[in-house]
């Protein structure tokens, strides 16, 4: 059943690839994905102040 869905979506992708909207979509979505992912990576950085947290309980 899943294979049929994957096949159907693959055909849809091929249709979209040949459409006029494709170029704008890939440019805008790439920018947005990059900004959001950079935001996520930054949120994982430990600040210099936090590195001075004393652990001793």
């Amino acid at each position: 059943m899943d294979d049929l869905i994957f096949e159907e979506i693959t055909k849809d992708i091929h249709l979209f690839m040949n459409s006029s909207e494709k170029r704008d979509f890939v440019i805008n979505s790439s920018k947005e994905a990059r900004v959001n992912s950079q935001n996520m990576v930054q949120s994982l950085q430990v600040s210099p102040e936090a590195m001075k947290l004393r652990i001793g309980v």
Partner: protein, 557 residues
């Protein structure tokens, strides 16, 4: 039952006793300088009582005048210089789940050469040991106990095979050594590092420093306002220094998001790397901050059959991503204020504070602002939820060849997921939307041997794919990213963890569903036109390169 006075009068080096918790207390009193009232207070949370009962302990074998390497080192560097005479010998208590007597134990020793069956039973029933230090309060020394029984949800990837010799009898136990802080040469940070190094020492063959050596290595290059010994704690910088002193690279990750924290912990634990969790302890009722604390994460409880209800969004209203480690509900940690394999549960809320220590409130609603936290087993009078732990950071001691960090892999996954969901939003196709929103990701570090072994055992792969991968050359360390479509593993991306970030470091794809693979390759190809890539995403670049190799060129505009 033997009282502590009777125990002290026994001359034999090995004493075999039936287990009960009161007997254990008498043993602690007999072989240390601990006061009875203090011992009652120390064991008040019933952790050791419950834990040993869960293991099914029936017998204790006491090994007197035991020399513990780590304590001897600490003794030589610190305790011996006290005016008061402290004892350098410890006592080791071995626990068994079978009933033994003095006679049956002696029989095993006498007949070991002839009757190996006895030893097999002894090994099956061996539950580990606790070293008792002859000190006034911090008496729990090196503790190697069997972990909780493993089941489908409970996993302890950071345990190692630990060899033990009892009167010459070879035994082994799969565990990670634990010991409590003595507040002299070691606070919680040092104890946590000490446990972690037993795990990494097994993997990367570095030296195993004693608590004194760890504290010394951590503090010697830092100007500190307080003395290093007696030790009142270490900063994260000092902990990183101690990690680098054994030849490893410290990696720290902030713990703002519970989902990303779970994913990072899972990613490294799966590679058998113990992870240090630095927290701020807070009383749940009064919201009083107690201070910084560190524990060593050894295992987790993850139910893979549950639906993933919570998703991660990097900013509100952005496309979400489902990470399979989200369903981790508990961590099993070595907490030197509680014991080995103590549970910490997700789901708590802690009060946020301003810089001046006052409670932070929402300026509009005046509601108290909270942050995510973990319930701990830390507390007095068995009130398990008296304290919560606010995670500040996790620290992972990585081998120098593991150059690609978790966040670099997560970035590629996040971007690809974002692009795919974004595409599904532009199309009027419910099946596509459903597929995109039910993609989930499992990210973990592994090595070539475990990767290939798992492939050999994987019946969901075709024979050709299994043969191809088992004969392929790979680097020593790999990031493996499993992609699921509604709980069916459709594809794995394999990243070279030893490469540099600027390179295209996806080196293979493990294909479980050919049709899904074709779909994702076709999707990736949208981002390539006339020799140019619209994105730097490595998954897109890898898939579109594979599409170009395998597909009909007439399909590409």
């Amino acid at each position: 039952m033997k009282t502590n006075v009777e125990l002290n009068n026994i001359k034999e080096n090995f004493i075999v006793l039936p287990y009960n918790f009161e007997q254990l207390k008498e043993i602690f009193i007999a072989f240390s300088k601990i006061d009875t009232n203090y011992l009652e207070h120390k064991l008040d949370n019933d952790f050791y009582k419950d834990y040993l009962e869960t293991l099914g302990v029936k017998t204790i074998v006491i090994e007197k005048e035991y020399i513990d390497k780590d304590f001897l080192n600490d003794y030589a560097n610190y305790y011996v210089k006290c005016f008061k005479l402290y004892e350098r010998f410890c006592t080791r208590l071995h626990f068994f789940s079978c009933e033994l007597t003095e006679n049956s134990f002696n029989s095993i020793l006498i007949n070991y050469g002839e009757l190996n069956n006895n030893l097999c039973n002894l090994q099956e029933n061996y539950l580990g040991y606790i070293v008792v230090k002859n000190l006034p309060q911090s008496i729990i020394g090196k503790t190697c106990l069997k972990c909780y029984p493993k089941d489908n949800c409970r996993n302890f990837p950071a345990t190692v095979n630990h060899k033990v010799h009892l009167a010459g009898l070879p035994l082994n136990i799969k565990t990670l050594p634990f010991q409590e802080q003595d507040s002299v040469v070691a606070a919680c940070a040092t104890s946590s590092l000490w446990s972690m190094f037993y795990g990494t020492g097994e993997l990367f063959h570095h030296s195993l420093p004693s608590p004194y050596e760890i504290t010394k290595a951590a503090t010697q290059d830092f100007p500190i306002s307080n003395r290093a010994f007696p030790n009142s704690g270490l900063t994260l910088e000092m902990i990183s220094k101690a990690i680098s002193k054994v030849g490893l690279e410290p990696l720290s990750i902030r713990t703002n998001s519970p989902i990303l924290t779970k994913s990072a912990i899972y990613a490294y634990l799966k590679a058998h790397l113990p992870v240090m969790l630095a927290v701020t302890l807070q009383k749940t009722i009064t919201a009083e901050d107690i201070g910084g604390h560190a524990v060593t994460i050894v295992g987790y409880n993850l139910d893979n059959t549950k639906q993933i209800d919570t998703v991660y969004q990097s900013i509100p209203n952005s496309y979400p991503i489902k990470l399979r480690a989200t369903n981790i509900t508990k961590l099993y940690v070595h907490d030197d204020q509680v014991g080995p394999f103590a549970r910490m549960e997700f789901g708590a809320k802690a009060t946020l504070k301003n810089f001046d220590g006052t409670i932070k409130r929402n300026p509009t609603t005046n509601e108290v602002e909270t942050t995510w936290a973990l319930y701990t087993s830390f507390g007095i009078e068995n009130k398990r939820r008296s304290f919560c732990a606010i995670p500040q950071a996790i620290l992972i001691p990585t081998y120098h060849k593991i150059r690609i960090p978790f966040e670099a892999v997560l970035k590629q996954i996040y971007e690809f997921n974002h692009l795919f969901i974004g595409y599904s939003e532009t199309r009027n196709n419910e099946k596509l939307k459903n597929l995109a929103n039910n993609l989930s990701w499992e990210i973990f570090l592994t090595d070539i041997n475990e990767f290939k072994y798992s492939i050999l055992c994987d019946n969901n792969l075709s024979d050709d794919e299994r043969l191809r991968i088992s004969k392929q050359r790979y680097p020593r360390f790999l990031w493996r990213v499993k992609v699921y479509s509604s709980d069916n593993n459709i594809l794995d991306f394999v990243f070279d963890a030893t490469d540099i970030e600027q390179n295209e470091y996806i080196i293979d794809t493990v294909v479980y569903s050919n049709q899904a693979f074709e779909m994702l390759k076709a999707f990736a190809c949208m981002y390539y036109e006339n020799g140019l890539y619209y994105t730097e995403n490595k998954i897109i670049n890898n898939l579109s390169a594979q599409y170009k190799i395998s597909s009909n060129p007439l399909l590409i505009t």
